[in-house]
Amino acid sequence: MAPSRHAAPSAEEHLRRNTVGINKETVSNVSSTDFPGHFPGEDHAFSIEHFQSAFSIQFHRNEANDASFSLIGIDASLANAFRRILIAEIPTLAIEDVFIENNTSVIQDEVLAHRLGLVPFNGGREGIHNFLKWYKKPAAGEDQYANSFDWNTVRLELNVTCTVNQDAAPTENDPLKAYHHAHVYARDIVFAPTGRQAEYFSGENAIRPVNPDILIAKLRPKQTINLAMHMHKGIGADHSKFSPVATASYRLLPLIHITRPILGADAEKFQKCFPEGVIGLEPVTREDVSKAGSGYEGHLGEVKAVVKDSMKDTVSREALRHAEFEGKVKLGRRRDHFIFSIESTGQWDSDELFLESVKHLKLKCKKLEQQVINMVQ
């Protein structure tokens, strides 16, 4: 083995390797190069120790329905695996079957059923995550409810009839005031606990819509909707109503490198090329001026453009369109800095979802490991 096996590149070289170049009309240096055999004399074999020392997580925002954090020092393949697991493989509870007894509203049965399916629900976490298990569809010829139990099926009901509001003025034009139940909202859905569900889903743990104000249908007097629903657990790969996230996405950290000074009116124009808060204006200091070859000589007190917060940048490349900034700025993105954004639909907390995706990936790897063991035996 070569003696320089563990030679590490300089910080500057490391940054160069990890920067995706964003040019006027092209994108350069897009592939990662940190794999064994790419750089002679350097060892890039994956080791858990190296990963642990290089990896870090920074939280920017952590609310139940919206979390944003950075994964630093991770490969795109892993970051993308987490994103895909978040969208398609974490189970949630959603309406799957709709049994319509009566529907005289203008919305058709199948459209109504579809709308109901997309309504996100919340409930006791312990019950949803641990008590409720997968539902298996009965085989053809078997009784339709052969596999429906309290631990895999949640029953909901929706019974609404629109009536004329006798107290309203005869000239009332607003249907919401002139009639009772002119609008059917998600909050009108009633949870009907069966069996042991009463233990897990009572009081504040009841199965309920996350957003009670979702409009399901509009009614006029004497129109009625009378139906029951069965909820099952499912995954987003099967139907997007089961996806636990509204969006789960990541972007790479934008980099703005001002290579030559941008001063005065140019600096103000430069600031306007980026979203608010990305570029700041500061006076040229004595220190700047004293540095020979910095380009600040003789500009003491003028304003200069400095990068304040490149994370807020949208990488619109507007700065590259202007001749006065040519050769003065370099745009790029950090290849191993992923700014994740997870918006939960409400059944899980957003940060909990990410941990769950890690758990899922670990489980997949365990399964694969067993397959490999079986293969060599």
Binding site: V98, F99, I100, N102, T104, E110, A113, H114, L116, G117
Partner: protein
């Protein structure tokens, strides 16, 4: 009688067998000219129409009438 077979959703029994209706083609026989109940699209009230009656709701003169929906449960997948 099989459950799936269509039933006219009215109560009037078989009567006046053999009475030919005006629009019927020769040879076709109707057990009865069943009285159908419709639902007015304007006021939501029940409307019964007899032969040759004007297609309009007697309560509100609405001309849009809907057929009554089946009384059976209909199952859909929420997809």
């Amino acid at each position: 009688m099989p459950r799936e077979e269509y039933q006219v959703p009215t109560t009037s029994g078989a009567s006046s067998a053999g009475a030919m209706t005006r629009g019927a083609t020769g040879g076709e026989r109707h057990d009865s000219r069943a009285v159908m109940t419709y639902i007015c699209g304007d006021c939501g009230g029940n409307v019964t129409l007899s032969k040759d009656a004007l297609v309009a709701c007697p309560h509100c003169a609405g001309r849009v009438l809907y057929k009554e929906r089946t009384k059976r449960m209909v199952q859909f997948e929420a997809r």
